[in-house]
Assembly symmetry: C2
Homo-oligomer: 207 residues x 2
DNA sequence: GACATTAACGGACTCCAGTCCGCTTGGTCA
DNA sequence: TGACCAAGCGGACTGGAGTCCGTTAATGTC
């Protein structure tokens, strides 16, 4: 059924797994990630099967699933390094993304940076968010983004900060971004502007 | 691959199919819908396969797919009667859902009614929105909801009405609603209140 | 260094969504 | 009323995700 969260790769607030990975397990994880990255780049995410990855990595399919739970978990793991970089900038980088700027500016910075992140890694994010219904909301990193946005909205003193944060993230889901960018052919920069304004609106109006 | 829109059942603004359905086709559609409804109710959406539906309907699997495109399309068809009722209330029912009330009240009424709709039919909606990545945004009815919300937001004179409408709907997706109601155990009435306030916020603040 | 423990391995297997294509039949037109 | 043909039918088939479980070999212990 898949509730990855193990295969997701560590999301900053969670940290490394409780017990150290066995040497062969670590080696196979590296092999699998390398093989997946190469195959995805070469043939496109959608036309690569789990058997392909297993074969290319020289690893059994069972091993792949033990490590990454499902295809989406594999994508999450590939994304996690990039996600952690962004999380690091948010936690300790320069303002307005990092601490120091007023919350309305940080919220706008977060929104646009996150949108760019999604757009940059669209195929992988799409896979990781849609492999299973609700996968998006169960990824370890989702908790980070949601908590951050909620914190900023709370600092602005708006009502229902959590709900607003979740709605904002829903609007930045891979599905939505893909629809805008690919199906509707919208321009990314225009979208960045619009979503920045929308973040401002969520961070101000209403009771 | 699936771009249903045929199996969706007519969404008000679209109307009936160009040419009339052949008698046997109509009979098989009725059988399939009846069988699906019964099986879904009896065993739960998730543990019913398309073969099950085909067998119970006394129809070949190919027929099922020809009529409904995929499992999500079958769910959409089952929902469409209910959706059309709601669309009718919006287009011609009493205010504030129907015409006559000021746009901010209509937006709130639409938001809460739509949330209740999603919650009421959660399993079916979940299936219809997640059967394929992006299915939610391609359903015929999505265009209706989005256009309506956009119209109301435009009447309020806010910036980026379409983007705001789409973000609002993303926040009311089956995936999100299911997470709130089932995973987080939130109370529906509290959620209705919160989303009503969020609709107000989207319909007012910001440039 | 032998042994026990137990995590990890891997590939055969199951299950199901969705496709294909040769056959049938309702609707139509002469 | 016959006969033509596109629309419709249906079930065998394919492809791939995810599971199962007997086997293998790292790691810790004495």
């Amino acid at each position: 059924m898949s509730t990855h969260a193990a295969g997701d790769g560590p999301s900053l607030p969670i940290g490394p797994p409780p017990v150290r990975e066995r040497a062969d397990a670590a080696r196979n994880r590296r092999r699998a990630l390398a093989a997946a990255e190469a195959l995805f780049a070469e043939r496109g995410v959608h036309s690569v099967t789990m058997d392909d990855v297993a074969a290319a990595a020289g690893v059994g399919k069972g091993t792949l699933y033990r490590r990454f739970t499902d295809k989406g978990g594999l994508a999450s793991a590939l994304l996690s390094e990039r996600a952690i970089a962004l999380q690091g900038e948010i936690l300790g980088g320069p303002p307005p993304l990092g601490p120091g700027a007023p919350p309305e500016l940080r919220l706008r910075a977060f929104t646009t940076a996150y949108l760019r992140f999604q757009a940059t890694h669209l195929d992988l994010v799409l896979l990781s968010e849609t492999s299973t219904p609700g996968a998006r909301l169960r990824k370890g990193s989702y908790a980070f983004w949601a908590q951050h946005a909620e914190m900023l909205l709370r600092a602005r003193g708006v009502r229902d900060p959590l709900e607003r944060a979740e709605v904002l993230l829903a609007g930045l889901s891979a599905e939505q971004v893909s629809s805008w960018l690919r199906d509707q052919g919208r321009d990314l920069e225009a979208l960045v502007e619009a979503m920045g304004r929308l973040a401002d609106a969520l961070g101000s109006a209403g009771t």
